[in-house]
Subunit: 337 residues, 2 copies
């Protein structure tokens, strides 16, 4: 069986290729006997229709494009699982590209997606949109795709015309900060990224909300701003722990950040919750082997992926409904304060 196209099947069955095509796409329209005969031949020859030919002819595709900044961050790993569960259910195929948070890679991926004429796009914009032209260019590429788009995790004004799923981090961080304040802490610090990215700004805003609510003045000294990596956070935490005026409680705004903080704590022979309290955003990997007393804001990343997938499916079905922005709430898990 060197190859096997719809023509070969048709020839062997002594019918036209239209009939063969119908067996696959509208079985009820072909005589049961003919149908069975054709199906049998298909099985025998191990016929598999070509996606390219089908897509070309139908002017659609079953591929959905996904862009995430870090596949190997468990947060995005879970998002991918969520997406997969929906995409599989609808017999779609996912192409996932890792952007390393680089706008450059986003562009490359978007061009590739256009070549593939993707049926939809699930997009976590790279955070390094330093220049506005960059964002404009990417917006152009996305419009070019001319397909349903769902923005994930990072709410940027440029993309406000598209559906989106986000976590209400402002609220969560505010609540977390309040919990620390209510526990009696007056010197509450925050580990966050510098204010370039929207995530960092949102989270910082939540932190400020809490302080204002409790009439505590915002002290820049207590803000340790890095870049959401463990090494940077570790370094900042060391500085903090060695400073003369060290907060008694902190909020850490990212799982990597939490890990850097914990590492510094350990190296300074300090005990979590006893010497300094902490609530982190997202659980950290290997939580269990560190001990169970890490407090964190539990964000259901998988749910974000599912929601994004569903929004996309819905948008494919109803292209002209108003734009939807879903904000997912998170739960705060307190083990020990």
């Amino acid at each position: 069986m060197p190859k096997c196209t719809i023509n070969d099947i048709a020839k062997e069955a002594g019918v036209s290729k239209a009939t063969v095509s119908r067996v696959l796409n509208k079985p009820s329209s072909v005589d049961p006997n003919t149908r069975e005969r054709i199906l049998e031949i298909m099985r025998k020859r191990r016929y598999t229709p070509s996606a390219s030919a089908r897509n070309l002819s139908r002017q659609t595709s079953t591929i959905v494009g996904v862009i995430v900044p870090e596949v190997d961050n468990p947060f995005f790993g879970e998002i991918l699982r969520g997406i997969t569960s929906i995409v599989d259910k609808h017999n779609l195929t996912m192409i996932c590209v890792n952007s390393d948070d680089k706008a450059e890679k986003d562009k490359k991926a978007l061009k590739m997606f256009k070549e593939q004429r993707v049926a939809g796009l699930l997009y976590t914009p790279a955070i390094d949109y330093s220049k506005p032209e960059e964002a404009k260019e990417i917006l152009g590429l996305i419009q070019d795709l001319d397909t349903p788009v769902v923005i994930m995790d990072r709410k940027l004004d440029v993309f406000e015309r598209y559906d989106g799923v986000f976590f209400d981090d402002r609220k969560s961080i505010c609540e977390a900060t309040e919990i620390l304040i209510n526990a009696g802490h007056t010197k509450v610090g925050i580990f966050n990224a510098t204010m370039e990215g929207i995530l960092a700004r949102t989270r910082q805003a939540g932190f400020k909300d809490a302080l204002k609510k409790h009439n505590i003045s915002y002290n820049k000294e207590y803000c340790y701003l890095g870049n959401y990596t463990m090494t940077k956070s570790y370094q900042l935490a060391c500085e903090m722990l060695e400073s003369e005026d060290c907060p008694t409680a902190v909020v850490t705004c990212n799982n990597r950040t939490s890990m850097g903080f914990l590492k510094a704590l350990r190296e300074h022979n300090l005990k979590l919750s006893e010497d300094i309290s902490c609530i982190g955003l997202d659980r950290i990997e290997a939580l269990d082997i560190v001990g169970n007393d890490f407090n964190f804001i539990r964000r259901e990343a998988k749910l974000m992926g599912q929601t994004a997938g569903e929004l996309m499916i819905h948008r494919i079905a109803f292209p002209s409904e108003p734009v939807q922005n879903v904000f997912l709430e998170s739960e705060i898990v307190i083990r020990k304060l």
Copy 2:
């Protein structure tokens, strides 16, 4: 610009579509003036050729299929990074499917890959090949693909006709065990999966090799066989620690397994290396926050991905060279014994 095909470009430029096609594929064959004019029109109209049409016509595809059992395991995350680096370089597109170690999902993915007429397959076979017919069926699907295939990580006889990349776990585990023996341990245990899978068997063999070499009898009591999950390993480790005859050193054959072991250790208020020694396969996540004294076999998963990618590229170029099996060596990192 409602849509934009090669015909639209040709019309606007007043040339035949063959010429437009040549601008893209063999630019030297078209007059520089014409070429520039056409390129300009393409830019203006934001023309992007359709991958489906191109693939259909060329009878090839730029998609490579990848199957891994757990995307969210950092080991496979790194493999994917390695693959990406190669695949990107050759302007190919990767479709990655997560099998959850279920043969059923492998089959589904392979069928989808055939529809896509993938240019190559990088395959980590699901471990749950309980029945031989299952393996035969999958082999059939793979042969059907009729494309270069590289087997990753799991060396199964069924796939011996294909290129493969593997870690020499048998050697590594043997060496690790020897290190423990040479450090004076006579009661060395092993945390491994039960013997269904090839990985578990290979590792167990390495363990036995070391014992035999040092004339230590193989004691089944010291073999804690589970399923490479943290929970199971934790449970086994608890049993071990509470048993009357507990090994003084263990080898843990998987990162999740190591984590379960460490958790149990911690809950029993035992100190790693002081109370019981351990060498694990693969580093564990969050190593740094736990402390630096976890010994492990460092496997360069990224290298496995790269090698697999390169083998595939090579096989595409030279289809009839003899099958290659690459065995990657690992380094053992000892922090504290």
